[in-house]
């Protein structure tokens, strides 16, 4: 008997409904959980996304892409399969996709987190028989600190840099993390500047209705800007590039869940690491799985064998890995880029 959702070489396929979830090859119908590049790929003939994801997905998939949107919680039918989208708490417009057919319910969570994030609707556990979970930070060493404490550290670092006459450059993934940093820090400390990639994303999320503190695109900064007072938000790709030279003396920081581990912090060679992730931590993952009541869990995206084995042995849940190209499989070094 075939499963409701199964992997083939294009992606996760629902034969009953004849659609794919987050396909990595162009298909005729793609249901997409969120607008990060490893999940949302151009070229498909038809897309269905959560309403709040429209501006960023439009930017990702192209102006001509045939995109249809759906509000959270509203069920629709595709070829007799009942579909609804539910908030995943990962980035703006991110969704878990609930698929129901002949009384059997599956939920594909895409990427998710349960920590609060003012830039998106909070994760909701959706009861199901089979839950597809990510495992980016699927080891018990990953336990996220309170956001308030992290942002307190960011604010202190920024103030200290101001006192030392250094610009504060924080590297953060342009979609999601960058906006989360902006809404988390204290904007009264000083002016905020953004790299072009972050500026683009800010415009998109503003279109989606999110309000962010005021920021200036670095290229449009006045000629005599005193960078030493500024917080500059740039994508990780700007690390170590000549683009940074314009700011004079800088202190660099990286906002990522990987910053919890000392070796990872040191390898990034930034001055500071702030532990801020858009993925669920170990405990959050276990809680979420339990909250769905799922009797079967499929694991993708990160520490797949570890999470699957733990769920089987310690929680007695039927669990196994799904080989998907989301995130990366075994390469810690690049996993951060997929956040």
């Amino acid at each position: 008997m075939s499963l409701l959702l199964e992997l083939n070489d294009h992606g996760l396929y629902c034969a009953a409904g004849d659609f794919y979830i987050d396909p990595w090859q162009p298909v005729h119908r793609a249901l997409v959980t969120h607008a990060h590049a490893d999940h949302s790929r151009p070229g498909s003939a038809h897309y269905l996304i959560a309403e709040a994801s429209l501006p960023v997905s439009r930017w990702r998939l192209g102006a001509e892409a045939p995109i249809e949107t759906i509000p959270y919680h509203k069920p629709i039918e595709i070829n007799g399969v009942r579909i609804s989208y539910h908030p995943a708490g990962h980035i703006i417009g991110s969704a878990q996709i609930r698929v129901e057919y002949r009384g059997e319910v599956w939920v594909a969570s895409g990427d998710y987190k349960i920590a609060p994030d003012p830039t998106c609707a909070p994760f909701e556990p959706v009861p199901c028989h089979t839950f597809i979970t990510e495992a980016t930070f699927g080891l018990p060493i990953y336990r996220w600190p309170e956001e308030a404490a992290v942002f307190g550290e960011v604010n202190d670092w920024w103030r200290q840099n101001q006192a030392d006459g250094k610009a504060s450059v924080i590297f953060a993934y342009a979609l999601g993390k960058a906006q989360r940093v902006m809404t988390g820090i204290d904007p009264t400390i000083g002016p905020i500047f953004v790299h072009g990639a972050v500026n683009n994303m800010n415009r998109m999320v503003a279109q989606a209705g999110l309000s962010l503190p005021h920021s200036t695109y670095v290229n449009e900064a006045p000629a005599k800007t005193d960078w030493s007072q500024a917080l500059i938000i740039a994508p990780t790709s700007a690390r170590g590039t000549p683009w940074l030279r314009r700011f004079g003396a800088i202190s660099t920081a990286f906002a990522s869940g990987w910053m919890l581990v000392r070796g990872q912090r040191r390898r990034r060679s930034v001055d500071r690491g702030f532990v801020l992730s858009d993925h669920v931590d170990w405990e959050g993952l276990m809680l979420s799985v339990a909250a769905t009541g799922a009797e079967r869990v499929l694991v993708t995206h990160g520490n797949v064998p570890v999470v699957a084995r733990y769920l089987r042995e310690a929680r007695g849940i039927e669990a196994y890995g799904l080989a998907t190209p989301y995130g990366t499989d075994d390469d810690d070094a690049t996993a951060e880029e997929s956040e």
Binding site: L139, Y142, R262, G263, R266, R272, Y310, A314, D332
Partner: protein, 527 residues
Amino acid sequence: MKRFTDLYSRLDSTTKTNEKIAAMVDYFNGAPAADAAWAIYFLSGRRPKRLIQSRRLREWAAALTDIPDWLLVECHSAVGDSAETAALLLPAAAHSSDLPLHQWLETRILPLRELDDEQMKQQVLAWWATLDGMERFVLNKLLTGSFRVGVSQRLLTRALAQQSGIDEATVAHRLMGHWEPTPDFVAALLSHETTDADVSRPYPFFLAYALEETPVVLGSVEEWLVEWKWDGIRAQLVRRHGQSFLWSRGEELVSDRYPEVIAAAEALPDGTVLDGELLAWADGKVLPFAQLQRRIGRKSIGKKLLRDVPVLLLCYDLLEWQGKDVRHQSQWWRRERLAELLAAVDRPHLPLSEIVESDSWEALATIREESRDRLVEGFMLKRKSSPYRVGRRRGDWWKWKIDPYTIDAVLIYAQRGSGRRASLYSDYTFAVWDEGELVPFAKAYSGLTDAEMRRVDNFVRRNTRERFGPVRSVTPKLVFELAFENIQRSNRHKSGIAVRFPRILRWREDKQIEEADTLDTIKAMLP
């Protein structure tokens, strides 16, 4: 402890010298002397003995959080460090304590020795509940005797000098030797008075850099004193107030281990400090380093070992003469006094290092070819006019080493590194051919660029054959050129040989594994 943890975090998060110094100066400005004493103790690389095995710490943390063994192995492998793994596994602190560093050490950590296993465990678990993540990590490092921080002795010296206004050389000298981390020590260390009473205290060693180019750039050969570069243990012999002290370069007092040298030192006048090299020596010839190794780390030396591996101190330099610090005198002046002194005492266990005379660098280069046969590593070049400086400096002393042995070998095992390389497969075992089989013969950790290391890491992940804990065996495909300094027969190694200081010279992407060297080629290099 919070203040010390902050200092650790600041030092750990920067590679910039000025920021490290600033962090230490800030710390010493604010810390009470009792805490500063312990901070200096740790920053200068001193460590109390390990109290708890690091493996036990992570096991306790796993048990506390219900983590099965296999999952603990995964966590440890991702983090690369037991103390950190334990710190990360634990939930956030229930409440927080801020006991000062010296009280942590004196009333808590060091008294752990008195406890039995179970008491120790209960104690540590209770402490964990009062510390946040980074403090917990620092505590774990202290408990396991593995606290390390990226600060050189020189940097610490500069920070203390800057903070106290005392000159660096004085601070460096006062930091040497054996001392207790007490407020009195800090007071004496940072005192503006000049009487330094400690009889046993050695001087900071002057260390040379390797000369990477031809010595012709150093100017006329006549300005240089040339000696053989020996492969032994650099040491200082201190003779004051009728007592003798032998210090290794690691600032370890090793007097007990070399009784024959200490006996010879009796003949030295009070107020003498010699710099030299401990060498195993018999029948007028140096013995291989492996022989000397039998004497290292032995606290009590049996008669047989004393007879089989006699040790002497080959003297290079004179740092204190007639009770006066003479390091500011020229190399040549010190050498002449040293020669007179050693001739006067005339002890076979205190020979004078030979000067290699020559009228040109070319002639010296020819003589240098004899190095391997003489079991030396090349030449030491010392500017005749130079003072005896502090620490590793360029300019006046150079190591002019012979080219290392090189060989092409095949990567067969890989392990994750530690620290900055914790998540990369960066520690390798290499093999050479022996009768159609690859036999492991050397481990090497360094020599690749970061980019190459990432590529090898990728290769390892894709070509793993078997996993044994943190080690993976990989399909033999990659060939590397290795360099090493020395080669000896060894029964402890499967290959039957042991090499000194193996390192990766380059990745031979142009070579197939069939082109790697054989064990016989290496054995032919045996002296």
